[in-house]
Amino acid sequence: MPLQPTSLRNLHLLLRGTPRFVQNQFHTQWQIQSRSQSTASSVNPIEVSHFNALASSWWDPHGSSRLLHLMNPLRHDFIRSCHASQPTPPGSNLRFLDIGCGGGIFAESAARLPSTASVTAVDPSPEVLAVAKAHARRDPALQGKLTYLNTSIEGLPRPRGPDEQYDVLSLFEVIEHITHPADFLDACAQFVKPGGWIVMSTIARTWTSWLTTKVVAEDVVGIVPKGTHDWEKYINEEELRGYFLRERGWNSPRVMGVVYVPGLGWTRVKGSEKVGNYFFGIRKDE
């Protein structure tokens, strides 16, 4: 259909006043030599207070976290595809470190898998973590396998060897809420075993993601509370890839773009990592 003058005008109106396509902090930050960060926190206090307010509805299947609940199975599918890509896929007794665990949607599910030895899940928001702990009590199978800690990554004791490192470090819907992502990822990397994985999901910084996550999800449909996303912090897949592959000791980057289709749920769509939600995984050199 040819574009009508009216639709062009509508498009113009729609785009006016939107944030300009800026290079976010992450894009430049990783070129700067890392600061001493043993005490600095990656955590943004505004973000923490925002998620504190969300705590009570975290496990409401029809509440604001419904999309996260629906996405959770895909996280496992993605991790499985990462593991399956290894020359020798790992067996069982996997150790997980879930950063920014929130109410524990992923942490609980990872702990339930028979191939999981333990899950350590951390979140800086005390209210959210209290919800996570209370919820985990509903499933006796989680006891002994799942540990919650109210801390940021910087508050965790540094691993002294591979035995204290993790097979999978997960950052689901986290990196877009971090002020200094490069420092944060440097801190995360120390916790991953040689041959282990960092897996994450986030949103690409594009016009589409701005429309879907800021305008549609937060303002029009209202399925996500306002202020949940800060579009300028979104990170693109090629930026992550570039960061890890820049002589930092990582290999085998994997990406999977997913799209939420109403009535169908989250669906894997090839190439959609360029425009919206995507999973990213990368393996530490052995």
Partner: protein, 489 residues
């Protein structure tokens, strides 16, 4: 309490229930429950050991991903009689069901069909359906390229449940609590270690208490599990009873090896004659409660005459014979001389009725408002009750079970808690609309043919004749009956 004092490892408990739970069982210091007996924890507690419940457990045990779930079956009847079900080849239980090829495929997949005595199963390849008032017919027969293909399998329910139990015994790992009634279902309590306030706890007459991560109601039309979950069930009674009996025929049927099912729509309801192995058939005659009661009082000779009349005489003749207290056999002999019928398009003559096989049950339509609740799933008759005219009741239950087993498998492999509503949503989404449509279609068919006179009668005959003439439409109906058609959501 069956928990020994020594520490049980996670592996001993099957992986899904952790060792911490057993600790909780030993030292539940602060309990809000009035009883001092602590519940045993299970991943799945299935109430009801009928075809739906047993199929679910066989499916869960046979899939590797769900084989480690800790499972209990609660059944109020003793199951030994079912397990050891055996009858001579000249006798058949009067409760038979039609199994579609799709149900049989599922039963094969879970490894249960191999345990069903195949000598007692009868397939049929053709259906003859006609209007008792106008005589309009629809002949369900496959087109040439599909000729000989099975429409459905007639099977005694006991032969199926017996096969399922044998399969479950073979797989092991299901704690069978039979001969025990459900005395109470209530939510669990919060203790120092755990919060079981969302877990249903089933109290049994034997004194056991089972806490369920997922409680499955396979407990029939008056489901206590459904009542516990507060799920309503709506519908109506048809004011009809289904009279069943095992009949001996004059021969194996007109088709020889290829068997035919017959159904005639009478104003009082459809009467169906479905083939069993050899010279036997099973009867399902839906009629008014008064006529059903009357049929049960007749001598075998007169009952046989009434069944033969039901497929041959006009509704007016039948109505008269229903008023006779006896002598139907003589009446039929006399009236048959004055009625024209093509004997090859109706069932062969009934010559005997198996002693004690005549029984009746009320017919109704029920549909639960939803099939899932928090830590609750309903399957089979607990979720829906259908008019038997299309022989879909048991097959709907098998469809439920296949869908629920897949839903549970997906949840387990993705680390979801299999009991929470979020995990169960795909099951409800997949089955509810499909069942609702079938319930509606079968209900409308019953109502359409319950009309004896008036403008609707010639119209429905035109409908039947039109369907009969239109190959693709007929094909569609047959595919639906056989469960091989396109699924209409």
């Amino acid at each position: 309490m069956k928990i020994p004092s020594t520490s049980l490892s996670t592996r001993q408990l099957g992986g899904y229930v952790c060792s911490g739970c057993t600790r909780q069982l030993r030292r539940q210091r602060r309990s809000y429950a009035t009883s001092t007996v602590n519940p045993d924890l299970y991943d799945v507690v299935c109430v009801g050991g009928g075809p739906a419940g047993l199929s679910l457990l066989a499916a869960l045990r046979s899939q590797p991903a769900t084989a480690n779930l800790k499972i209990a079956l609660v059944e109020s009847q003793r199951l030994d009689a079912t397990r050891n079900f055996q009858l001579p080849p000249t006798q058949f239980s009067n409760r038979c069901s039609s199994l579609t090829p799709s149900s049989v495929r599922f039963l094969e997949q879970v490894g249960a069909w191999q345990h069903v005595d195949q000598k007692r199963v009868q397939s049929y390849e053709e259906m003859q359906v006609w209007d008792g008032v106008t005589g309009a017919r629809i002949e369900f027969d496959w087109p040439a390229e599909k000729r000989g293909q099975t429409i459905a399998y007639m099977n005694e329910n006991l032969n199926l449940t017996s096969g399922l139990l044998k399969r479950i015994d073979e797989l092991g790992g299901v704690e069978v609590l039979d001969g025990q009634k459900v005395e109470d279902i209530a939510l669990g309590s919060e203790t120092e270690d755990f919060d079981l306030s969302s877990w249903p706890v089933v109290s049994l007459s034997g004194g056991r208490k089972l806490a369920a991560r997922l409680l499955v109601g396979a407990d029939g039309a008056n489901s206590p599990v459904r009542a516990f979950a507060g799920i309503g069930s709506r519908g109506w009674d048809y004011e009809r009873h289904g009279v069943v009996a095992t009949l001996q025929m004059e021969g194996p049927g007109w088709g020889g090896e290829s068997k035919i099912a017959y159904q005639r729509f009478l104003p009082t309801g459809p009467v169906a004659m479905l083939p069993l192995p050899g010279d036997y058939s099973t009867l399902v005659w839906s009629t008014t409660p008064a006529l059903a009661a009357h049929l049960k009082t007749l001598s075998p000779k007169d009952f046989i005459a009434m069944v033969n009349a039901a497929f041959r005489l006009s509704p007016v003749d039948l109505a008269y014979m229903h008023t006779q207290s006896d002598g139907q056999a003589d009446e039929l002999a006399w009236r048959s001389q004055h009625t024209n019928f093509d004997q090859h398009r109706i069932p062969q003559q009934v010559i005997g009725v198996q002693e004690g096989s005549i029984a009746s049950f009320p017919l109704k339509l029920r549909h639960a408002d939803t099939y899932i609740g928090e830590r609750v799933a309903l399957v089979g008759d607990a979720a829906h009750t259908i008019h038997p005219l299309a022989g879909q009741g048991l097959n709907q239950g098998q469809g439920d079970v296949e869908s629920l087993a897949n839903t549970i498998q997906y949840a387990v492999t993705h680390g979801q808690d299999i009991g929470v509503r979020m995990s169960l949503e795909p099951y409800n989404a997949e089955r509810y609309a499909a069942n609702n449509m079938l319930l509606g279609v079968v209900d409308k068919l019953h109502k359409l043919y319950a009309v004896e006179s008036g403008p609707i009668v010639p119209l429905r005959s035109i409908g039947l004749r039109a369907v009969n003439a239109l190959g693709p439409v007929k094909q569609f109906f047959m595919d639906q009956a056989a469960g091989t058609g396109v699924k209409i959501l």
